[in-house]
Symmetry: C2
Subunit: 195 residues, 2 copies
């Protein structure tokens, strides 16, 4: 039987990553988030920082994306090359073991597999602003602007690679407002899907 | 303490109404769907059929919406007049008793009230097509076209009155794919919100 896979996409500051970790712990599933970046770094030779950055920008909007063109053999952009490597890795991971995968368009990449649950976590802007200041501290730019920029990047990147709308309910089996429901209730609902 | 209210918006053919009824039964909440249309008919003098129709069209897209102008005292369109009557009724209902309200932009109308849970139910087009043929029979137009027309009307009507996107996950506390989750699991997750 195919492995159960839970993909979690999330708005920045919604606590989606915390929920994903808790779900993985409770279900005793493997957890993939930055681990994906590290594995892609190993297989491609790019730095984890560059890969993390590329994953949040759409290639069309990223002036750096062609800076490395020619490192791969096919003449495609660095960002597209990384996308292909990441896509292959996520498909491999899904065959490897039951797991929770955070972000990286995994919902779209695994769309043809059975037993995949696609979840989106969001929360109102003001709650997310409070959360990122508590977690990452104050910055020069306001937390609201930081959130809008980050959401915009994720949304454009997702659209570029999947041709779908990020956060549109129809793309997910379940979407949750983590602010209203709370972290524990979100975790319970998600773990309840595979029980 | 304010009443707990569950609003359920749904794609046509997703089984959202069936889920809403089950939730109301299990929680022993009042259930409002066509009941709203009948109460608005009583208070305004319009026929239930006209009100049902108006609730699915945006006034700008409905050539009939000005046919009755002048029946109210203010010179506003019939559709806007009905919207105001419906809005007032939904606010009254919410104060009356714990309840489940299906459609009619109730999520938006009750946005400033406490203890309101906003849910959106959707399902893939092919599953909804099968469902509406089972439920309502074949028609001259294909089930896919009937679904797209109905979704479009609901979406445009919702946008006109709320200035929000119908089905956008951020507008709801919870959205569910009823096809993947099944009617009973959806019912359990929703009743679990208020337990």
């Amino acid at each position: 039987m195919a492995n159960s896979i839970i993909t979690i996409s999330r708005e920045f500051g919604s606590g989606g990553r915390t929920i994903a970790k808790k779900v993985a712990e409770e279900l005793e599933y493997a957890y993939y988030d930055k681990e994906i970046i590290e594995e892609v770094a190993q297989s491609t030779g790019y730095t984890p920082e560059y890969i993390a950055e590329a994953g949040e920008y759409s290639p069309t909007g990223n002036i750096f994306s062609y800076a490395f063109v020619g490192r791969d053999q096919s003449g495609i952009s660095a960002a597209d090359y990384l996308w292909i490597a990441q896509q292959k890795l996520i498909l491999d991971i899904a065959k490897r073991e039951p797991c929770v995968i955070v972000g990286r368009c995994a919902d779209y990449i695994l769309r043809d597999m059975e037993h995949v649950w696609n979840i989106f976590i969001h929360a109102p802007l003001e709650d997310r602003a409070r959360r990122i200041v508590e977690k990452y501290g104050e910055r020069d730019t306001s937390p609201e602007k930081r959130l809008r920029d980050k959401d915009k990047k994720r949304s454009v990147n997702y659209k570029y690679y999947t041709d779908q709308e990020w956060g549109k309910s129809q793309n997910y089996h379940l979407t949750l407002d983590s602010s209203r429901l709370g972290i524990d209730k979100c975790t319970d609902i998600i773990t309840g899907l595979v029980h």
